[in-house]
Every structure is written in structure tokens, then in C-alpha cells.
């Protein structure tokens, strides 16, 4: 466990963007023997219903950028006052430079504003808050824009019923500021490196040689792309796809995550009854309710509706939960917990009573976006030839 307290950090605002394309599980009856009863059972047990997915031209960067633009507009933020940009991502547009430099440029941030990417998954929002809070508490920075973006649905075949119904795509923007008033926030992060292979995309980068495949490798690749592995549950999944050891992850979430939360409550000298809301990462309804129960919470304080409406949008799920809250819900003592690939379980107790929470917005294509992959290739061809 890593326990920490910050006193001078205020979370000023949060904004979330989701893609327009909505998939409803009831339109996918072909995968459930055309049985509405089977779908009803899935919905009741795990909360499968609707999810928002990106098309193949949309990336995590686009969603994060769009969320940033919305937050800047809605809160009338003077971009010249932002002194740090943190972009949490695990599916970057390119591997170098870190994508935050592109965002820094497109958002018109100043030379005095530092920028970097942070690579994290489902716990990426809480982890980003943790890093940003230290930067503010130390006195080094006064106003930090924390962006999150992820497209977990990309690359998953719709017939893959282990993963396809779970994931949604999204971006979020969060503004953190220095405050003169004492405003305590508490964090607890548990890191279980041993579980690195419980959720992993083993063929997603250089270990697979993604950057140096030779012509003759493409034949091998086209065969590997069709290969499927049969999981112990009897389901199959593409060998080159992202892998989830579902039961190991379930075991981790039900045992470790409640411990992380309970330890944090003790550290912050508070209790389940004093917490107004437990905003958990929306892994699925079964996991959210399981963690909530094991952590000793009344389930009325543990929302899962974000999962039903938008799917598990990984690091944007807690901002999504917060953006869906009724205005009259008390937000002085909100416990948030992100958990997932790492494995990591990261919890924070935050005061969000003065936090601006915008409505969840539908993605609008930014001006910079290339219309399609061909246009992107053509852009770089011309750029390299000095024609752009």
C-alpha cells in the first residue's frame, strides 16, 4: 500500500466525451441464440446493455482533445494559466514523441506549461490525480490539465462475446488547481506487479516486432491473425488480441480492491457511513456490486448505471460516473477507486462539492483529424517531401 494525503489541491472541473456510435446488446441477439431471455439474464447479472464505441478513424487522442476543448470552453479557462498537461493513455496515436506534445500544440498551451504522457489503464484517472496532486502540493505547479483517453473497443471482433459487450470508448478532462484553503484528499495505491499478465496486450508493440516486420513476416502475420486460443472457460479468443484472465481478475477485484478501500478509510479516519458516494471503476455491474459489498458499503451509494449506458470505458469510467450524478447528491466525501491492468488498485477520498461537472458530451470531430488512413498516409508523404 502507498498511503498519502494532500492538503492544497482542488479538483475544479471534469468533462467527459463519448463517441456517437451506440451499440445496444438487444440488437446483437444473433450472438445469444436470438434469445431475449438470455440477453435479459446477461443484463441483470453483469449489466450488459448499451455501449459507445469509436469508429476506426477515432483515437484516444481525439476523445481526450475534445474533452479538453469542452472543459476549457465550459469553465472559461485561460489556457495561458495552465502550467502542466498530463495525458494518461495506453493506446497512443504514435509511440514517439509522447502524444501530449501534440495536445499541448493543438490546445495552444504556453512554453511554460510542461507536458507528458502517463501510461496507465483502468486506474488511470485516480493515478493521474495522484501525480497531479503531488505536483501541486510541492508548490511546483498551480493549474494542471489532466486528460484521459482510451479506445478499448478497437480491435475486438464483435463476435468475441468475452470482451466485445464490455468495453466502451471515451475521453475525459479534469482541472486541478492549487487552493489556499486546506482541502484534504487521501490516496491509497496498491501495486500487484505479479499480476502483469492477467490483463495484457502481448502483441501490441515492440516485443512482437511491430516496428520492424519485414515483407516476409507479413505472411506469418496473416496466419497468426486468424489463430484462436481456447480459454479454460471454453470460449475462444484471437491469439494476437488483448488477453484477460477473467477469473484471476475477478478474484483480484473481489479480494484486493475492497482491502485498498478499507485501508484508505482507516487512514483518512472516516467510515463507510461518512462517505457520500463510492464511485468505482465500471468494470461491470457484477464486479461493481461485489466490490461495494465486500468493502462494506450500502449498494445505494455504489452506482453502476454508467456501465449500462456507456460500457466499461476504462480510465474514463469514474469521471463518467461522476458526470451522471444527480445534482443534489452530496459530494463532500467521495471515495473513488480505479482498478485493473497492472494489476493496480488505486483509491482516493476527494471533496468534489465545488467541482464543476458537465454533462457527458457526444464527440465532435476536431479540425485536425485526418478524414481516413489514406489521407493520413498522404499527409506524411507530402510532409516528408517538404510539400506541407
Amino acid at each position: 500500500m502507498s498511503l498519502n494525503k494532500f492538503n492544497k489541491v482542488k479538483i475544479s472541473g471534469i468533462s467527459v466525451v463519448v463517441p456517437e456510435n451506440e451499440i445496444n446488446i438487444y440488437d446483437e441477439a444473433e450472438y445469444y441464440d436470438n434469445s431475449i431471455k438470455k440477453i435479459d439474464r446477461m443484463r441483470k447479472m453483469v449489466g450488459f446493455w448499451k455501449r459507445r464505441v469509436a469508429n476506426k478513424e477515432q483515437t484516444a487522442l481525439d476523445f481526450a482533445y475534445n474533452a479538453a476543448i469542452n472543459l476549457i470552453e465550459e469553465m472559461k479557462i485561460d489556457v495561458n494559466t495552465i502550467d502542466a498537461l498530463l495525458y494518461v493513455v495506453q493506446k497512443p496515436d504514435w509511440l514517439g514523441p509522447v502524444n501530449s506534445y501534440f495536445l499541448h500544440h493543438k490546445l495552444g498551451l504556453s512554453k511554460e506549461c510542461i507536458a507528458t504522457d502517463i501510461v496507465q489503464g483502468c486506474a488511470g484517472w485516480v493515478f493521474g490525480l495522484y501525480i497531479a496532486s503531488q505536483m501541486i502540493e510541492s508548490g511546483a505547479h498551480k493549474k494542471i490539465l489532466l486528460l484521459n483517453g482510451d479506445t478499448p473497443s478497437i480491435g475486438i471482433d464483435p463476435s468475441d462475446r468475452n470482451q466485445a459487450p464490455i468495453f466502451g470508448d471515451a475521453g475525459s478532462a479534469t482541472l486541478l488547481e492549487y487552493t489556499d484553503q486546506t482541502q484534504p484528499s487521501h490516496f491509497n495505491i496498491d501495486t500487484i506487479g505479479e499480476g502483469y499478465d492477467a490483463i495484457i496486450s502481448p502483441f501490441s508493440a515492440n516485443r512482437f516486432g511491430l516496428n520492424f516486420l519485414k515483407d516476409e513476416d507479413f505472411e506469418k502475420l496473416s496466419i497468426l491473425r486468424k489463430e484462436k486460443a481456447t480459454l479454460p472457460t471454453g470460449n475462444t479468443q484471437p491469439l494476437l488480441g488483448s488477453y484477460i484472465d477473467g477469473l484471476k481478475v475477478f478474484d483480484f477485484t473481489i479480494k484486493q480492491v475492497p482491502k485498498t478501500i478499507k485501508t484508505l478509510l482507516e487512514y483518512a479516519n472516516t467510515s463507510q457511513s461518512d462517505i457520500n458516494l463510492l464511485a468505482l471503476h465500471q468494470a461491470n455491474k457484477q464486479i461493481v456490486q461485489g466490490v461495494g459489498t465486500e468493502a462494506g458499503f450500502d449498494l445505494a451509494k455504489v452506482p453502476y448505471e454508467a456501465f449500462e449506458m456507456y460500457g466499461n470505458n476504462t480510465m474514463c469510467s469514474i469521471p463518467t460516473v461522476l458526470s451522471m450524478l444527480d445534482k443534489d447528491i452530496k459530494k463532500e466525501n467521495v471515495c473513488c477507486c480505479g482498478f485493473g491492468n497492472g494489476l493496480i488498485s488505486a483509491a482516493a477520498i476527494l471533496n468534489l462539492s465545488d467541482t464543476y461537472l458537465g454533462e457527458i458530451k457526444t464527440f465532435k470531430k476536431p479540425e485536425y483529424v485526418w478524414a481516413n488512413t489514406d489521407e493520413y498516409i498522404d499527409y506524411w508523404r507530402k510532409k516528408m517531401q517538404g510539400q506541407v
Binding site: 472457460t233 478474484d251 479480494k255 457484477q286
Partner: protein
């Protein structure tokens, strides 16, 4: 928990529309999938304070075996 109560709870945990009986073979249930197994793990932890593993569940043949797994937490 009484055995009769458990059988009713089990029907709900598995989201099954037919009643559950002690002699039922788990593998013959359409609902005996990984989702149900996870739901059982959560149910045992919450109600009996017992951590059931997937391997424990793999060993089971009947609903009666599932009841035995709870030890004295379910009254015969």
C-alpha cells in the same frame, strides 16, 4: 442459512427460471457458465465469508456438492 433458503437463493444467483434441486447435475444447467461461477464466488464470500476458487467449483458435480462446500453455514 437453511438448505431450502439456499436453493431459492441459488436460483436467483444463477438467474435461473427453474427451481434448483439437490440432486441436479451442475454441468446440465444452461446457466452453469463463468458468469454464474463468479456470482457463486461473490455469494459465498458475502454470505458465508468463504473464499471459493474456480478449482473448487470445477470439482463439483451436483447442487448437493455446492451445499457441502459451505460446510456448516448451510443447515441440512
Amino acid at each position: 442459512m437453511k438448505k431450502e433458503e439456499f436453493l431459492v437463493e441459488l436460483e436467483d444467483v444463477l438467474q435461473r427460471e427453474e427451481p434448483c434441486n439437490e440432486t441436479d447435475i451442475l454441468e446440465e444447467y444452461d446457466e452453469w457458465d463463468s458468469l454464474s461461477k463468479m456470482a457463486i464466488m461473490a455469494f459465498y464470500s458475502k454470505n458465508f465469508g468463504i473464499n471459493v476458487t474456480l478449482n473448487d467449483l470445477k470439482e463439483l458435480k451436483t447442487v448437493e456438492d455446492l451445499i457441502k462446500l459451505a460446510g456448516d453455514k448451510i443447515d441440512a
